[in-house]
Amino acid sequence: MQIHRPVAILSSPRPQPGMGRFHPQRAAGRLGAWLQLIPVAQVLVNLVTIRSLCLLLLLSVAGTPLAAEIIRGADAETGLRKWHLVESRLEVELVQRLPDQTRGFFMARGFSPAIADEIAVSCIFQTIVRNTGNQADAVAVSIDLAQWRVIRADGEQGIRLKEPWIASWPENAVSEASRLAFQWALFPTRQEFLADDYNWGMTAFGLPPGTVFDLDLVWQEDGKVRSTRIAAIECAPDVERLQ
């Protein structure tokens, strides 16, 4: 906002070509009238200062998430796409994992190529969940992945959870060490987060590479069930689609 200070205004009553004769008394009267405006202008300046301070206050409050905010982006180095949600005390980030990344990870931990591939093409995302609250309010955020829904035009389904997945493998098909690695690499199905707590892990959405879907997230906060939707999430494409 531009402020018209009296000093600037004072220059306007000067005689201009075509304005007629200059009258000193009238000019003095006008000057007096303008000078009376100085306190008014000071109040205006003060009001602007107050407005600026209020803006500063709002900007500092902006660090505390109050409403849903979803940011879509891509990792600067890898180009992998990511979705970042902040709503109330819940912060969730989903980052694409290329099927080949996941294949390599699990094969390096003793999985057979067939099972590593089955995991890799299940639309895996690196997932980070955080409670952004502070210690003073001591409000827990709880999630249960079994309540999250994967929405597509042709229907909806749940997330692929690690417990039934591990149980589906024949006992001799996957070693104990590999099961342990899988158990700890995938995001916990249920978890409670207190202030500053966060966790990361893989989540499997059980869709073919490249599929686009919406995700309905459900969580509990301060004893209340809350939900929100992240639209148009895209599973990472597999190698052949990248070529």
Partner: protein, 177 residues
């Protein structure tokens, strides 16, 4: 009048910003109820046996981690810095690796030096006794053997707030002793 209002607003703003900054510090979650820490015995990467109950009388930072967990890797340098400051103050730091072998950890420590003991939980039997959901998770065990604090996810361990909490816990013991 307006000047007074501005002054009040400025004071309020400063207090708000100061309070908000204080909340943004690193924190540990206190665990009430003095739950006893489950005891265990594990070898470290140098072949030395560590029994948790042997450290009774000291504050123990017990960290669960793996080499392939990004936030675990991220917090190790700050753990090492904290350890360098706390090792002579009666505080113990133990990092329990879940499921990996000594060779993997040895290679890892070339990039992430760790002077504190790295314990091997090859079959995950120890981590299963603790309420760990994800990695890294760290418990602070009070000198009386109870679990005093918990941190889920990585922390900046040489942060002054965290160091103050750890030192206060150890000093309580020294004061009681």
């Amino acid at each position: 009048m307006t000047a007074i209002c501005i002054r009040r607003l400025l004071c309020g703003l400063l207090l708000f910003v100061a309070g908000y900054s204080a909340q943004a510090g690193e924190s540990l979650t206190p665990l009430p109820g003095a739950v006893p820490a489950p005891d265990f015995e594990l070898m470290d990467t140098d072949g030395k046996l560590h029994r948790l109950s042997d450290y009774r009388g000291k504050t123990v930072i017990l960290n669960f981690w793996t080499t392939w967990c990004p936030p675990c890797r991220e917090e190790i340098p700050s753990m090492n810095r904290a350890w360098q400051q706390l090792r002579d103050e009666g505080v113990v730091m133990l990092a329990v690796n879940m499921g990996e072998d000594a060779d993997t950890i040895f290679i890892f420590t070339a990039d992430y030096p760790a002077e504190f003991p790295l314990l091997l939980d090859r079959d995950g039997a120890v981590i299963a006794q603790w309420p760990v959901k994800g990695l890294p998770t760290t418990y602070i065990i009070a000198p009386d053997g109870s679990i005093a604090y918990r941190a889920i996810g990585g922390r900046n361990w040489d942060d002054s707030d965290i160091m103050g909490t750890l030192r206060a816990l150890q000093k309580q013991r020294e004061g009681a002793g």
